[in-house]
Symmetry: C2
Subunit: 184 residues, 2 copies
């Protein structure tokens, strides 16, 4: 399921608003280029992510991630590529709150809500709650997913090189980079 251009534009505007609330200044070009990822599921508000990539070289990468309230980035991992370790990433919460789930001892009761229509695609439940100023580093090759809190979240991601096209999602229905459908 592709997203329509109008839905993408609306999500870009809302993400820009949350970034502004977090005190983060973007250029006009960056605002217009906010990436809206619906993962081919066609349920952006439930499972999706908005991204601004500041820099992605062959050595490091830095992005801002925006989650709408209770929006979930689906479970995935970053595999080794051509002998190089998978992406290592540090999430630092800047605004709002985010629930992050990684491999490890599962929480007795998690604080977020697993997306109903994709229940089997969420398999790791070790819970880390991040509030502004708090951060967590995810080792390469570790399954993880995350969900915005009740107000959503703005999260800085510092990492090794980003090669999103190689990400391995637990949900076989996911397409990381689907086309956008133009409105009629």
């Amino acid at each position: 399921m592709t997203l329509r251009r109008s839905e993408v534009r609306k999500a870009q505007a809302e993400a820009a608003e949350l970034l502004a609330r977090a005190g983060i200044v973007l250029t006009e070009e960056e605002r217009g280029g906010i990436e809206v990822a619906g993962f081919g599921l066609g349920r952006l508000r439930e499972q999706g992510l908005e991204l601004v990539t500041y820099i992605n070289t062959d050595r490091y990468c830095a992005k801002e991630l925006v989650l709408f309230p209770r929006q979930t980035c689906p479970e995935h991992l970053h595999p080794s590529i051509g002998g190089e370790q998978g992406k290592q990433e540090t999430f630092r919460c800047r605004w709002g709150s985010v629930y992050l789930y990684v491999e490890g001892e599962p929480a007795a009761a998690i604080k977020s809500v697993v997306p109903e229509s994709s229940r089997e695609a969420y398999t790791v439940f070790h819970e880390i709650e991040l509030r502004p100023g708090e951060q967590y580093t995810i080792p390469p090759g570790t399954k993880h997913w995350f969900q915005g809190g009740p107000d959503g979240a703005v999260v800085s991601e510092f990492s090794s090189t980003s090669r999103d096209e190689f990400d391995v999602f637990t949900d076989p229905a996911i397409v990381r980079m689907p086309a956008i459908e133009e409105d009629e």
Copy 2:
């Protein structure tokens, strides 16, 4: 020339205040651990830098840099180490303004003021002015220095691994990591 503990504490408090103005949230531990670099020159307000290192792994690094009004980080470069290219870094201005100087065509008249007492230690004058939302990536092995604008600056630095102890400064008087002198 070492800095006194009381001067370090005062600089930490002022840096924390500028970071807060930029909307950046730190933990209490991070606030207390702000690095105050005087470079062994004993003239912190003229030549110095305040830093918060969020993460520094063997693959990437992320910091916030704080410059007081007209405070200058002295000219230096990041050399290759053991066959690995020198540090590559992206400066993104978050608040205030910063004048960055790198190798290349020198500006006819630069907008900042070279520190009087170290005039010979500044040799590159290709000028890049960064305001909030603007960024610039410095290639490895490139001489550079930077100065905060009239209100100072908060700058995010995204980079490959940081190995500050190997930095090569133009000024032979500089000591990157001098001890701090305890007050009487």
